[in-house]
Subunit: 346 residues, 4 copies
């Protein structure tokens, strides 16, 4: 079987994470995240973020985290501003609307919001016959692999402060964004109201660490009400300790990014264009359909994203902590072969 | 540290489950439960249940499962009938109401519904100015440790058929109930419309297997919308394979029950009464407060359930696959010492 | 056709209310309650209540008002405490749960909550695995016709202050309660956090005036989101002006109560017992089934409430501003005839 | 005070409607729409629609009707397709999302959906990680005054049949659309799954008649649960009888449309362009700001819709059953004066 570039959650856990789960397996702890492992992991998050006052929680999945955060921040009639490509707008089966909140989506070609885009939504909503946009949702990396710079995030933060908007950053792929850009964890505390450190796509079995810059004393009620508390909550604490205590988060993210850039460079060298210029672990080359089919026939796995025209498909290639270098080299080699073959058949 | 009888989810996973996770860790699979491990585990459930047509899903937690099942079965104006002690009525922070459905609770001293109790609720609801009770929620074992017999479940099933009610059995502690009573998995398919096989309290890291007797083709939409799909879904498949493929479910449940009955007999021999007569892995002795305090002071951990009078407390003792026999013997020994001490201080 | 004692909303509007609607029919005003008629009616409410700072809104119906108020006051995980007979618990098809909130119902034989009942619910809810009871719902008159005294309401108010509970009084039949008891409008401002002055059952075509003791600047967003703003909102203002500007509220309520007490005394004189001792416009006599059937056969209309035993039915008789004295006298006469006849057939 | 062209619900009821309410005021009826007046009005709707099997309900307001209909038709994970300008998308404060459903909005310059627009949404939603678009919402007249032709509606109907989509037509201004276009009530039964006949904007105090082509036996549960049942439901029956029994619906709509077209022609004759070409009772001329200010200063009232450029404003002028011809002539005269004055100041 060839390697699957389909996602960054195709394997289990990074060996150090699995080892930590094994080592602590028979410890007895209380449930639902009140255990010493979760407390220690939360302390670790605060320490790395230089945010001693921050409120830290651990949840199992990303959609779950997004919906609980948004529901806990907004009044019923308030709404979310998100890029059209935003995960909460497209890929969560209406999970936000299921909590009663409208998502006001605005087209953003590179997946990134700007102060101008935010203002266009805010200004279009006036008075009690419309929803009140109140939370800005961004993801970093974005759904199309792009990354916010510190300057860009600072601009969003300024815009949100001015308009009293809550800025929430979905960090499902935060590791990759930190490794690819100039933002740091302390920057995120300073420039957002809440953000997540995604574990699922960074070598954990599962898990999102959530940080609120300010205390939210009733957040656990919101979690429980949506079924978002894990009985053996300590599994989250143990895993995030392993991810954060000696740099595994960035180490794995750098590995994934490096292989993604190797893919990018190799594909570009073959003359293929990209949908978007991504510095992170998701790459979106546009391939002739016969080349794509040839790779699939060899056993490679990846997602077809969309069709820019009848003869081409934009595909998504994702790398992770688990991707072997050889898999990337093999893919590039096979792509170059397919490309040659493809050209001959034209 | 003395042993904690606080819950059956105090430890991690049964070693065979952990081994299975380790063995399959680097397999690459698709996400969200569409992988070969989940498919195989679902086949295994159907086979053990002798239900080739059943619809099987895997979810992470119990509250999550309850809310998604109930939302997927009911029309918006329909309601749940549950015992007053029912988990959905008391311990889920209004998770069912959060999906818009009323829980019509009826007092049931031993935690078990009966046809008469169901009818009392159904008859009290007439016409469009009231909710329409449509789903009957039971748990087995119940929240107070009791167990439905085959005859009792058949009576509920008959009542539900007659009144066109959907019968849903929450099997968070199904293993313990199967080991303690006369019901089998095929009985459950025949006598309910849906039930769960709880993994969290039976040696898995987490996980509930959910079986609908009849196909529900859009159930995955309901799951995703509530954040109830696990990205690395195969973790559920792998664990349930380990739990079900060579009898681990019943093996662990029998162990837990046996130790619970040993506790029960030992405590009874010391002359203490019980709140309810439980044949399963939860026991509810009523202890003098000084005896209870003495055990807590030694380091034992358990929940205080309620206070039948000023001098006594009903405590909950829970055993599991992980409970060592020695821990039970130690507890009984220390209880007998405390009891003696307690009596002297009177 | 004999008179219907089925409800106090069987007719249209009191003639003075209808006249006001006719007189203002061709005025042009803005919509949705921002017009001069609503502003003037709100001022009138504040003046009568001696509450210059109060926030006043007008809504069409009672269920609608209850659900919008409760949703606007509670956080998602917070719950309502209500008597088992409370309208929000029984007769609103789960409208409160439809906004995501649990109703914690407590049996209250005479339909009235007490501090002890409220505390029993509050104390039973501890921690994040349960809902957080935060709003106390009472109705005055209650659903069984009883009325809170000033002393009783003051005790509830004290209990709610102590426990930081929001006290909401549903005044669908407030007029009748004011006419029957010792409470005044200014008392209600002082002793509750919000209450309604029901118009539908007091001679308006429809309408509830809602008063919050303190400003709730975003309440109109909550209203609109639930479809609870009337386009021609001035219809509510015009009607409440008519009801409140020269004492029509109490005048009609006194008429209804007086006729209800005449019914009560006449029925008692015939030897029939009552389910509950009601001083207001709803009376609940318990009649032999043959007597009840005889009245129905004559064409009288009323609701059968419940059956205390096989031979008797508790019926509900309701009077209103529209009930003619003669209708009451006729009913009593026919009841006495039926009773005689009934006794002869025994 | 000059006339307000702000809306078609600025006055009370058409005199014949008010008379009917007065004539029936002291009739005693049961509540909540089960009375003879509502039954007769529903029969009348069925008769005019040539739809003896249709299911007819009466509700108070438009937002209320839209949210109850949509909630009653869709499964929780299903979504609405609407034009970006659609009332449910913009002007209902998230009332649809408050029932848990996403509105998938698609830009439609003239406010009208087409099969191509519907397909673009449907094709963009695949699989369980996205909502499932299932109900198509259109309004007729649209929010920008345009009207669907029979051919256009037939095309939408064909597209919906093919894709198993539910077609719901919001007829808040149905009268105006019927008077302006070639559709008839029987056409609407044939070409939609449900539609409303708006009363509020056609001379009633309030009220929407709702027709489902097929029976929906539990619709009244949905109504009650959302507070959408009127206690004195007969007010809706009485008013719709008056509106429908001798042609008042079309008579008033024709009056409104004729005056709107007189406005249109007069404004066009002065050389002003229009935002959209509307044949119905809403007109959207684009006026120089100084001209608009001059009209407002004279006391005319209308809504400023948007600003196509810094010097101009698109305003909305609405006529109704109540608009006097003289008010239109006065407005045109004053506009021509303002226009002259305006030109001099340039």
């Amino acid at each position: 079987m060839m390697y699957s570039f389909r996602n960054d959650y195709s394997e289990g856990a990074h060996p150090r994470v699995l080892q930590a789960l094994t080592d602590t397996n028979l410890e007895q702890t209380d449930g639902y995240g009140t255990d010493p492992r979760c407390l220690a992991a939360a302390d670790l998050v605060r320490q790395l973020c230089q945010a001693p006052e921050a409120d830290v929680h651990f949840l199992v999945g990303g959609t779950q985290t997004n919906l609980v955060v948004i529901e806990s921040v907004l009044k019923p009639f308030e709404a979310v501003i998100a890029a059209g490509t935003g995960h909460v707008n497209v890929h969560e089966t209406g999970a936000i609307e299921a909590t009663g909140h409208k998502v006001c989506a605005v087209p953003a070609p590179d997946g990134k919001l700007t102060p101008a885009l935010i203002e266009s939504v805010a200004l279009g909503h006036t008075g009690e016959h419309m929803v009140f946009p109140r939370l800005v949702y961004i993801s970093n990396t974005t759904e199309v692999g792009t990354v916010y710079s510190r300057e860009e995030l600072a601009a969003l933060h300024g815009c949100c402060r001015e308009r009293d908007l809550f800025l929430y950053l979905d960090g499902a792929r935060l590791g990759s964004s930190l490794a690819a850009g100039d933002l740091t964890l302390p920057d995120l505390v300073r420039l957002t109201d809440a953000f997540t450190i995604g574990g699922t796509k960074n070598g954990l079995l599962f898990g999102e660490a959530l940080l609120f810059a300010q205390a939210r004393p009733d957040f656990r009620w919101y979690m429980k009400r949506r079924g978002a508390m894990l009985a053996k909550g300590r599994l989250l604490g143990v895993q995030f300790q392993a991810l954060l205590e000696d740099g595994l988060l960035l180490e794995t993210a750098r590995h994934a990014n490096a292989l993604a850039l190797r893919l990018r460079d190799g594909i570009a060298a073959l003359g293929y264009p990209f949908w978007v210029d991504s510095p992170s672990n998701q790459q979106f080359p546009i391939l002739p359909n016969d080349v794509m089919e040839s790779l699939l026939a060899m056993g490679y796995r990846f997602e077809a994203q969309h069709s820019p025209d009848q003869g081409h498909t934009c595909v998504r290639l994702v790398t992770s902590w688990a991707t072997p270098e050889q898999a990337v080299e093999d893919f590039l080699w096979d792509l170059s072969l397919s490309s040659g073959a493809g050209k001959e058949t034209l």
